[in-house]
Symmetry: D3
C-alpha cells in the first residue's frame, strides 16, 4: 500500500479525532499495538473510507450503526460519535440512528449506544 494511502488515512484520523486521536496516539503506540494502528490508518481510514460512492458523513453513520449492532464497544461508539460530528452528522441524525437500532439491534444495544453517544456529546459541549 502506498504512503499516499497512509497519509490520506492519517489526514482523515486528524479530521475526525484530532491530533490526540491521530498523531499523538500513533506516536505513543508500542511495538505491540503498532500493527493495529498501521492497519487502521492505512486499510481502514486511508483505503476503505476513501473508496468513494459513500461520503465520509454517510460512512460515519454506517459505522455508528455497526458498532451499536455489534455491542460491547462503548468506547469506540464515543470516539466515532465525535468523529461523526466532525464529518457533518448532526446530533439529531445520531439520535435517529440509535433509535433505529432499538428495532434492529434491540433495546439493550440501543441503550448502550445512547448512553455512550450522550457522554461523547457532553464532552463536545453539545449535550
Amino acid at each position: 500500500m502506498s504512503d499516499q494511502t497512509y497519509e490520506a488515512g492519517l489526514e482523515l484520523r486528524r479530521k475526525m479525532f484530532g491530533i490526540d486521536g491521530a498523531d499523538k496516539r500513533i506516536e505513543a503506540a508500542s511495538d505491540f499495538i503498532r500493527p493495529l494502528e498501521d492497519f487502521v490508518t492505512k486499510e481502514c481510514f486511508g483505503d476503505t473510507w476513501n473508496r468513494g460512492v459513500l461520503d465520509h458523513k454517510t460512512r460515519s453513520m454506517l459505522t455508528i450503526a455497526m458498532l451499536t449492532a455489534l455491542g460491547g464497544q462503548g468506547g469506540q461508539i464515543r470516539n466515532h460519535v465525535k468523529g461523526a460530528i466532525q464529518n457533518g452528522v448532526s446530533k439529531e441524525e445520531i439520535r435517529e440512528i440509535l433509535r433505529h437500532a432499538a428495532i434492529y439491534a434491540g433495546v439493550p444495544r440501543s441503550v448502550e449506544g445512547f448512553l455512550n453517544a450522550s457522554a461523547a456529546l457532553q464532552e463536545l459541549g453539545l449535550e
Copy 2:
C-alpha cells in the same frame, strides 16, 4: 398506536417489499406469527421508519449495515437489499456498505452480506 400509523407502515412495506411482502404476507400470518407482523408493521415501519430526520433511503442503508453486523440473518439481508433498491439505494452504495462492513464487522459478516445481496440483486435482474 393509531390506525394511521399502521396504515403508514403497511404502505411502506408495500413500497419496499411489494404486495407479496406486505398484504399477502400479513393475510397469510397465523395467530402465532401475527403479533410479530403487527409489531413490524406498526412500530417498525409505521413509527420508527417515519420518524423523519433520516429519510427512507438512509434508513435502508443503516438497516443493511446493522443486519450485516448482527450476522446470521441472510434472508433478511436479501429482503432489505430489495427494499433498499425501492428506497433509492444504488447497487454501488450497497456494495460499499458491505465493503465498509469488512472492516467494522469483519470479513465473514461481509462475505455473508455480499453473497445474500448478490442473490437478491440477481432476483431483481440487477446482478
Copy 3:
C-alpha cells in the same frame, strides 16, 4: 399508543427500578435521549411486558437470559437483576439462569452475568 399504555409502563418501571429508575430518570432525560425513554416506557414496559400469557416474573427471567446471551451489557444486567427481585425472582433462580447460560451462551457470558448479578445483589444487601 394510548396514554394508558404509557402509564402502565411507567408504573412497571417504578415497581422494578424505583422512582430513581423511572420518574427521575425520565425527568432527567435530555431531548437527545427522550425518544429512547419514550420507546422503553411505552413499547417495552407498557405494551410488551403487559401482553400477558407470561407473567412479569417469567419475563424478568427471560430478559436476564437474553441480556446474558447478547453479552457486553453488564449495566443492564445489574438493573434487570434488581428488577427481577422486585418481580419475585429469587436469588437462587437468578443463579440458575446464569449457570444455565454457561452451557448455552458459553462461560465468558456466564461469568459476565454472575459478576454483574452479584454486584447488583450486593447493592440490595442480598449477597
Copy 4:
C-alpha cells in the same frame, strides 16, 4: 461424572427429542462428533438441566430465549421448540418469548425465531 448423570441426560433427551434425537443420534455419531454428544448428554442435559430450582419447562423457555438472542441458530431453535412442547411449554408461551425478544434481541432475531418456531410447530401439527 457418574453414569447416573449420563443416564439422566439420555432420558431427558429422549423425552424432549424422541428416540431419533437421542439414542439414534448418539449411535450414529462418528468418533469426530462423539465428544460433543457426550458433553451434551452428560454436562448439558444430565447435569445442568437437572440442577433443580428451575424446572424443565422454565429451562426450555430460557433456552429458546438464549438461542434467539444468540442468532444464527435456526436449526437448534426448531429442535428446542419441539423439546419445549414436550416439557409443557404452550404454543402461546413460545409466541410470547419470541415477541419479548423483538424488544431485547431486536426484530431480526425475533423474525428468525418466529420463522423457525413456526416450522417446528407445523412439523408437530400444531401450526
Copy 5:
C-alpha cells in the same frame, strides 16, 4: 499494496481452497463482489496470513475458532475446515477446537461448528 502481496494471497487461496475456490471464484466475481474478493486476496490472505510469527496451520486453527465464536457462518466454517486440512491441521485438532468452543462460545455455536466441519470432512472423504 504491491502485486507481490496479491500474488502471495492468490497462491495461499489456491493452496487452501483449490483452483475452484481461488482463480475460478475470482474470475467469476461480478463487479459487485470484486471489491470483496480483492480485499480478501490482498489484505486477508496476502498480507495478514503472511505476517509470520504464527504459521498457516496455527492461523487456520484460530480462524475456525473465531468463525465458531461469531456464529451464523456455517458456509465459511466448511470452507476453512477444508483449508485447515490443507494447512496441516488434523481432524482430531479440528474436533478439539470445536469441543473447546463448547465452553467458550457455548454449546449452540459448538454444535454449528461440529455439523459444518463434519459435512466438510465428509466432502473430503475424511469423515
Copy 6:
C-alpha cells in the same frame, strides 16, 4: 466427575492465574457464584483443557481468539492474556492473534483485544 479432575483444574488455574485467581478466588466465592466456580474448575480447566491433542499453549491462543470474536469481554481477555503468558504464548504471538482478529472479527473487536491485552501485559511488566 472425579475429584481428580477437579484437582487437575485447580492446578491449571493456579498455573495460569496464580493463587489469587485460583484458591483465593474460589475460597472467596459466595454460595451464589460457587456453581460457576465449580463448573469452571472441573468442566472447563479440569476436563476440557486437559483433553489433549491440543496443548495448553494452543488452547490459550484459541481462547483469546474466541473471547476477542465474542466481544464485550475485556476483563476475561486481560485474565487469559496473563494465563497465556504462563502457558508459553509469546507477546508477539498474542499480537498476531489480535491482528488476525482485525480481519475475521472486525477492527472494533480487535481494538478491544489490543487495549485489554496491552493493559494485562503492562501489569506483567511486559509492555
